[in-house]
């Protein structure tokens, strides 16, 4: 179960793509041609005049309503979103590339130019702010000016605190505090819960491994930055060897900058560095330890799953949708889980064949049950979030969970294919970042237009917008 989840995370991260290609569509013609009325030479004059007036009104209305809509619907989201994307961008070292695209859009004679300018302003003011905050105030839950910390930091902090105090009430206290301060919405709170649960689990497993390898841990942690960088580069390079792609250079250098960013993260993260060294060997060791005859099916399934997931990660990193560091960490997490579960299962089987009794396996299966229980609990939480969020007024999906799930699935798949194609189709293009924002604007505009026309539900449009804005 666990690896499915991690695998799914990887799949999910497809959508965190970077470069998308040009999408030139002047806005005025979109509205007009939706009717295509001017093609007919036969329409009575009155009608044509009425049409022209209606179009005029139409053209003035959307631009007015949209900026306010945008602001209203996503101020909170936008803040956190920006915080997250800012952090990501920081790590990817693409900050410098960010500002010129928005500078370019200023030149576009576009109805949406006012929208873009707003974004630029906001980005400018918070960008530097976040930089400062990130360095100066690692402990507070929120900043003095009300902007929340990046979500990941919050999650880690809360998880750590819960772990330390061994009390789930900590989470509730913190979340209610955030809710009262209006820093997060309810749906975000639910999501936070999931994140924290996951981080907590990571913490626990880290600590468990910590305990096992206590001797080696301190040495790795006391290594200096340079050492850690080299550690990162080695596994990253190992991963990259698998990617036959000239973008490797970029990603390797990103990895270097990444490890610098990593230094600022909380403790659990640093422990990952050590384990990454053993990342591949771990899996292969397990594989060979599986008795080929008896566990052939297991082995094959494992291999297939592993291969697929590695392919996913490769693809993701190749397209730049996730950083190599993230890819490695997910695979590592996956590896852990596989190792644990398979080991348990094997031991259970081997003791079965040996003694045909179940005292020992029961212990192992108890462990297994624990981890699967956690996974199940996580699943329930996820599902619960899903359920709750559909009831929530601000939900991304309307209607029943099943339908909504299927629909979002379909839309996600479609968007993924679109972006894949755009990337493939425009390998030669250099203006990739620029076109991402343009694409996003286009999608936003189209989604709104479609809602007006009754082609899309409001919720669907929001879902699509959110997906694109999260890229």
């Amino acid at each position: 179960m666990g690896f499915l989840w991690t695998g799914s995370w990887i799949l999910v991260l497809v959508l965190n793509s970077g470069p998308i290609q040009a999408f030139p569509k002047p806005e005025g013609s979109q509205d007009k041609s939706l009717h295509n009325r001017e093609l007919s030479a036969e329409r009575p004059l009155n009608e044509q005049i009425a049409e022209a007036e209606a179009d005029k009104i139409k053209n003035t209305n959307p631009p007015e309503s949209k900026p306010s809509e945008r602001n209203y619907s996503s101020v909170d989201n936008l803040n956190l979103l920006r915080a997250i994307t800012e952090k990501e961008k920081l790590e990817k070292g693409k900050q410098s590339i960010r500002s010129p695209p928005f500078g370019n859009t200023l030149d576009m004679e576009d109805v949406d130019s006012t929208k873009n300018r707003k974004l630029i302003d906001e980005y400018d003011s918070t960008k530097s702010g976040l930089d400062r905050k990130f360095q100066d105030d690692p402990d507070g839950l929120h900043q003095l000016d009300g902007t929340p910390l990046t979500a990941e930091d919050i999650v880690h902090k809360i998880a750590t605190r819960i772990y330390e105090e061994n009390d789930r009430g900590v989470f509730d206290k913190i979340v209610s505090k955030l809710l009262n301060l209006g820093l997060i919405t309810e749906s975000q709170a639910h999501t936070l819960e999931d994140e924290v649960a996951e981080a907590l689990q990571k913490l626990i497993s880290k600590e468990a491994n910590n305990y096992e390898e206590a001797l080696d841990k301190p040495t790795s942690r006391t290594e200096n930055q340079a050492g850690k960088i080299s550690e990162k580069v080695t596994p990253a390079a190992a991963v990259h060897d698998g990617f036959a792609n000239r973008e490797n250079d970029e990603t390797v250098s990103n990895t270097l900058t990444l490890s610098n960013g990593l230094e600022r993260r909380t403790n659990p993260r640093s422990e990952d560095d050590f384990e990454e060294l053993q990342y591949f060997p771990n899996f292969y060791a397990l594989l060979t330890s599986i008795d080929s005859e008896k566990e052939a099916k297991e082995k094959e399934t494992l291999i297939t799953i592993m291969k697929t997931l590695i392919e996913f990660v490769k693809m993701m990193v190749k397209y730049g949708t996730i950083s190599p560091e993230e890819g490695v960490s997910y695979l590592e997490n996956l590896d852990e889980t596989i190792a644990l579960q398979t080991k348990n299962k094997l031991e259970k089987n081997s003791t079965e064949s040996k003694s045909k009794l179940y005292p020992v396996p029961s212990e192992k299966s108890h462990e297994e049950t624990d981890s699967t229980k956690e996974e199940a609990a996580k699943m329930e939480k996820e599902y619960g979030t899903l359920k709750d969020s559909t009831k929530d007024a601000n939900s991304n999906l309307g209607g029943k969970t099943d339908e909504a799930k299927g629909k979002t699935e379909a839309y996600l798949e479609a968007i993924r294919k679109n972006i894949e194609w755009l990337k493939k189709h425009n390998k030669k293009g250099n203006k990739e970042d620029y076109d991402l924002s343009k694409m996003r604007d286009f999608i936003n505009h189209q989604a709104d237009a479609y809602v007006e026309k009754g082609i899309l539900d409001k919720e669907e449009a929001n879902a699509i917008k959110r997906i694109y804005s999260s890229l």
Partner: protein, 476 residues
């Protein structure tokens, strides 16, 4: 934070996808859905095409998915609303969606005009998805088609009727339930009967094209017209469609104009002026459908009279007389040539058969679209190069004219042969050109028309010249 939330949702969804994949890998794919499981999505089934019936919400979703996957070449719009308020959705596929590029012909498919004739509706949804997929795969035929044509696909003209038909319990659907729109109007008998007018004009003299010119206002005020009918009429008037097909069910044949018999009898071959090209067009559809073009196929029902069927095609009137149909309305009110395709003996067959209907029709659907690039096409301009809209292009020997669109562009579908084309416009001198037309591709013929006033000026100039010369010679 929203991104996180999105991630979580996506994680769940992606997990489901991964689950599905694994299940499939272990050959544990769940069997065909029971009636209650209509909502289940089989995403991975053949490139994202799920071969199941789409109700209105799913239809919308499917089209939105195609748009999301192929934003560069697609656009969704609506031509109006059904009686019960459902959008009459169209998905447009073209290299510049939303824009008529001068010289680029416009094509349309309309399905499910009879709500209980469901195969057409589904095929069109599959087609939209297929075109998107194939385009992204670089399928040359599809890429060229989409770059050179503007394709409009309306899966359902009668979504209300479909809902009624689909809501029937069990697999066996009634022959009539859901056929008409929510008002009980049979949409394919609801169009203004221009055939009648044409038949009169044939006897007494008068035009046989663009007959709606004077009737447009009447259309809007006509209370007998269903909202769906009105919406389509406006659609036809607004976009210079060149070729079209209207998908039905209940039999297996490609039917071409005229649908209404001249004498009013039940069966009579009623050819239109463009009988030759229409036979070719109909055959272009049927010949790629192995069942439709099978000469040894038994009729759909034991006592059916399919004596008029030739190579899977039939003249409308020869089969049975249909007044007020959309097919003939297209031909007589606009430049658009439309045929009616009957896709299935059973009007609303079981869901499991949809995939095989797709396999049978997929090549036909593509082949028929390609027919739009036949005959003659070009621009009608004045001597300064400015386009002349609404110019008339007539073909010697074929008593049916087409007109040029806003950019002066025209398209005249013709069977192979030698023709004389004449372009004319009020205030301009007509020009005739000889053209040899192959089977395909379309031959480009442009016209540069001289206006009367220009000619007058020319003649005046000539006269002055002559006078000057005379006066010089004769010394006065």
């Amino acid at each position: 934070m929203a991104r996180r939330g999105g991630r979580v949702l996506l994680a769940l969804c992606a997990a489901l996808v991964a689950c599905g994949w694994l299940l499939a890998a272990e050959a544990q794919e769940p069997g065909a859905p029971a009636a209650g499981m209509r909502r289940r999505r089989r995403l991975q089934q053949e490139d994202g095409i799920s071969f199941e019936y789409h109700r209105y919400p799913e239809l919308r979703e499917a089209l939105v998915s195609v748009w999301l996957q192929c934003t560069a070449i697609s656009r969704i719009y609506t031509v109006g609303r059904s009686f019960e308020g459902r959008e009459l959705l169209v998905i447009e596929l073209s290299d510049n969606p939303g824009i008529h590029e001068p010289g680029e012909p416009e094509f349309k498919y309309i399905g499910n005009m009879h709500g209980n004739e469901a195969v057409g509706r589904e095929l069109l949804i599959f087609l939209a998805q297929y075109l998107c997929n194939e385009y992204q795969k670089g399928n040359e035929t599809i890429v060229n088609l989409i770059h050179s044509t503007r394709i409009h696909i309306m899966p359902s003209l009668n979504p209300d009727g479909f809902e009624k038909a689909a809501s029937q319990p069990g697999e066996l659907k009634d022959w009539f339930v859901g056929r008409s729109n929510a008002q009980g109007i049979d949409l394919n008998r609801n169009f203004p009967d221009l055939d009648r007018i044409v038949y009169v004009n044939e006897k007494e003299g008068g035009p046989n094209n663009h007959l709606l010119k004077n009737l447009k206002k009447i259309v809007d005020q006509n209370a007998k017209l269903a909202p769906e009918t009105k919406a389509v009429i406006h659609w036809i008037m607004d976009i210079p469609f060149v070729l079209s097909a209207n998908l039905h069910g209940g039999d297996l044949v490609a039917n071409y104009p005229y649908d209404e018999t001249r004498s009013g009898t039940a069966h009579e071959y009623s050819s239109c002026p463009d009988d030759a090209i229409f036979q070719s067009l109909a055959r272009a559809y049927s010949s790629f459908n192995p069942v439709m073009s099978n000469p040894n196929r038994a009729p759909c029902r034991k006592n059916d009279d399919d004596s008029s069927f030739v190579d899977g095609t039939t003249n409308g009137g020869a089969w049975y007389s249909v007044p007020g149909g959309m097919q003939d309305f297209n031909y007589l009110s606009s430049n658009c040539f439309e045929i009616t395709v009957e896709l299935s003996c059973e009007k609303f067959p079981p869901e499991e058969t949809l995939k095989s209907y797709w396999e049978d029709n997929k090549n036909s659907l593509i082949s028929y679209m390609e027919q739009i690039h036949r005959g003659v096409k070009g621009f009608v301009r004045d001597l300064q190069g400015k386009p002349i809209a609404n110019a008339t292009i007539s073909v010697d020997g074929i008593d049916h004219d087409v007109t040029s669109a806003k950019d002066g562009d025209y398209w005249r579908l013709l069977a192979p042969g030698n023709y004389k084309l004449t372009a004319s416009a009020p205030g301009y001198l007509a020009i005739t050109k000889k053209v040899a037309v192959p089977f395909s591709p379309a031959v480009g013929v442009d016209f540069a028309l001289e206006s009367f006033s220009e000619r007058k000026e020319e003649e005046k100039g000539e006269l002055m010249e002559w006078w000057k010369m005379m006066s010089e010679t004769l010394n006065f």
